[in-house]
């Protein structure tokens, strides 16, 4: 074996890239050290949750959050701070109570799902029909639920990467429209969550363009399990459990939402910008700390740290997205307005505030060296390299679909669905040390990609 072959083989497996192209101003080790002692991100989410609190998409509270965000981002020193408004159809919560009326009794903790219809103030009392899974509901004969309340249960498991949300989230996303099709008067589901607190998990559902919205709500998990026990006991006696539901949410028509944009101008605009952020709107039950105060905080704190260290080659555009929870309206409006052109990379933080454990890529061919450099620079933070294709985060889905590159810094989601969309999504759930580790990982990736010479501009996509 001659030396050239040996060298080529070594290069194939060598974890150390041969050429380091790092800007000294954005040295990963130095940035990480700074980030691990910096509380900027925690300060942002503390301010947002204390001074603004819940900020449901399309409401006055989301508008208040945007005004707060503009002030805050300007004070941090970002350039070109502005709001890009868009219109949306807005749903708001009303009264919500649930009570078993026979043969047992008891008030249950319940919350309407986004787009739920109203029962009217007098409510609705009906027999509860139990389905062990979404598939069981799907198998119910047409018309068999007429005048009844469908109750769909399931048993969501904890997963580090959040994959179980795909499977079990279906109960919330399509269960209501299925129940409506089969004539149900209303549907209640076991919360899509993994905790055991009396806190229902809300979240959006959809009845489609032609579907008929029905009252749809989530029971807390202890309540769902108690209802299952009641149904099992009643059915042994040949009886049905009856429940009274009062849910008075309503659609309030078209209102305004918007994306808040801020920038760290780069020295080479032609190299394309890096789009980062999180969503500013939140569900209305908690104060939106982990979903997604943490994400707006982490992304902006990381961008500020890059800016303070020196001008990067690529522009970093921070977007605090509007109306993510109710249909990714902000991400869609942005993609429609801006298209993919000029975007080198998209990265979002929207999976809580726990430690980052894995990095995944969606980068063009020929960037193996760049990917290896990033993975190696993240390793001291306990971040491994994953095998998934990065998605870029929910708000970046529309622009990534147009051909923009993405990197995902995956947060540990093991406990995320204990809190997700519940009243318990509050500041105290954030570990400041874990948040610092997030920012350290973000500055690492930004510091490398923002200065990398690779051509990352999106190529014109062939229409499919």
């Amino acid at each position: 074996m001659n030396m050239r072959i040996l060298a080529a083989l070594a290069a194939l497996t060598l974890p150390f890239p041969l050429i380091a192209q790092q800007s000294p101003a954005h040295d990963p080790a130095a940035l990480q050290q700074k980030a691990l002692g910096d509380n900027t991100a925690y300060g942002i989410v503390e301010d947002l949750t204390t001074e603004i609190g819940p900020r449901l998409a399309g409401t006055e509270r989301e508008a208040a959050a945007r005004a707060w965000a503009v002030t805050r981002l300007k004070a941090m020193g970002f350039a070109n701070v502005r709001i890009e408004p868009f219109d949306m159809k807005t749903w708001v919560r009303g009264i919500e109570t649930a009570e078993v009326t026979g043969p047992y009794s008891g008030k249950m903790h319940i919350s309407a799902l986004g787009n739920s219809a109203s029962t009217g103030e007098k409510g609705l009392e009906a027999e509860v029909v139990y389905f062990r899974t979404l598939a069981d509901l799907g198998a119910a004969p047409a018309g068999s639920l007429k005048g009844k309340i469908a109750f769909v249960s399931h048993k969501m498991t904890k997963t580090q990467n959040g994959a179980s949300y795909g499977q079990f989230g279906g109960v919330r996303r399509i269960g209501p429209s299925l129940a409506s099709e089969k004539g149900a008067a209303a549907i209640i589901i076991r919360s899509v969550g993994t905790d055991y607190h009396r806190n229902p998990h809300t979240g959006g559902t959809s009845f489609g363009e032609k579907g008929v919205p029905i009252p749809a709500a989530a029971l807390s998990i202890p309540d769902a399990e108690n209802l299952e026990r009641m149904i099992a006991r009643a059915s042994k006696k040949g009886e049905a459990v009856r429940m009274k539901l009062v849910l008075t949410p309503r659609q309030i028509g078209t209102t305004q939402s918007g994306n808040v944009i801020a920038e760290v101008p780069g020295s080479d605009p032609a190299a394309g910008m890096i789009l980062i952020g999180g969503h500013l709107d939140s569900w209305d039950l908690g104060t939106g700390a982990i979903d997604d105060g943490a994400g707006v905080a982490i992304s902006a704190a990381a961008a500020k740290m890059i800016m303070d260290a020196g001008t990067p080659k690529r522009t970093i555009r921070v977007v605090w997205w509007g109306a993510e929870e109710v249909g990714i309206f902000g991400g869609r409006a942005y993609a429609e307005k801006h298209g993919a052109a000029g975007h080198a990379l998209a990265m979002e933080s929207d999976f809580g505030a726990d430690r980052i454990w894995q990095v995944d890529f969606r980068l063009p061919e020929g960037t193996d060296d760049l990917q290896t450099r990033i993975a190696n620079a993240l390793a001291p933070l306990g971040v491994g390299r994953g095998r998934d294709v990065a998605g870029g985060g929910p708000d970046h889905g529309p622009i990534v679909a147009l051909g923009v590159n993405a990197i995902d810094l995956q947060q540990d989601g093991t406990d995320y669905f204990d809190l997700h969309h519940t009243p318990d999504d509050t500041l105290d759930k954030i570990d400041p040390k874990a948040m610092q580790q997030n920012v350290a990982a973000w500055v690492t990736v930004l510091g490398i990609v923002a200065n990398d010479p690779a051509d990352l501009l999106p190529k014109a996509k062939v229409a499919e």
Copy 2:
């Protein structure tokens, strides 16, 4: 040193009693083995929380629980099952909402304390005055709170033996009457608890005979901490936080409660009975699983196991107490009616459903051997011998004060105040294995004491 002295010294420290007086039917090791594989206790608390649910003292739900209890205790085979009724003054919960109205905003999770006055349906909006501790509230000048809402915070710690409830529970027990004396329009407290969920901890308070009840309620701990942050920020700007409270509880006058009694008749009534139990009433927010469904279940399951093994020498009287939460009305009524005479021992289970870790005694002189035998028999269950004087449990306080002996099987209270008096006190919080360990400890003590020849009858007390 001669042999007699040596033997005497050895006896002083010997952990093995020289004479074993155990009835073969109630052999501790055999009873423990049976208890560790038995689900009777879990079945009782499952039935009670599913079929009855919350059972606030003096209400129809507590009456339903008594009727259920009579049926259940008869079905278990106990003798002399009956209700001893008593009258009480009853308080019931109404609407309860809290909202910050300036300079920030947000709905907070709140629950009225027992005996709270009403704000009226229109509610009360006022400035919030912050006190870091109960002592700070106590130091406020008379009249300084006129027209304001007092907010008392504190930082309760977790303790295995529950001792912190003594210190921090004072905020709930006497904070409201203190605030009333100082002219406050209402009082809100940080929940007396150790969790971080949006679940307020209710519980009784008292304004005394001459005090003027004011609206009094507990904020969930995340809400209390957010309110503290809001107050700190507002005060930097020279502003006060304002809050709107709507609390509509009411006193509904005199209603009936009662104690449910069941017995395992002993072969020697003159030896005095062993009084055991837990309280059947619960707060209304949860389903009363750990407080105190667990206690009624553990005590009754243990008594049944003794009964099934053979007739004990002493009668075991199981009492499922009424109206403990609101002032130990059941325990007081019983002591008044029955006095101490004929009671050899009192034991209650009312501190959750976690494992028993310690045994404490209040037994007459000359029972060292009995105490050592009990402690040794409990050791295989991981139970150590404590240095406290047993209290006998809240419902037995009145009769223990009259001279009745007591043994406390101390449950681990480390996590008890995460759940205590919250909506989260539900069946899922009970570990069936821990509950079996409780029953195993109870049958051990009952099996020994119920057959012991010691004179345990209360001595006539000299009036003090």
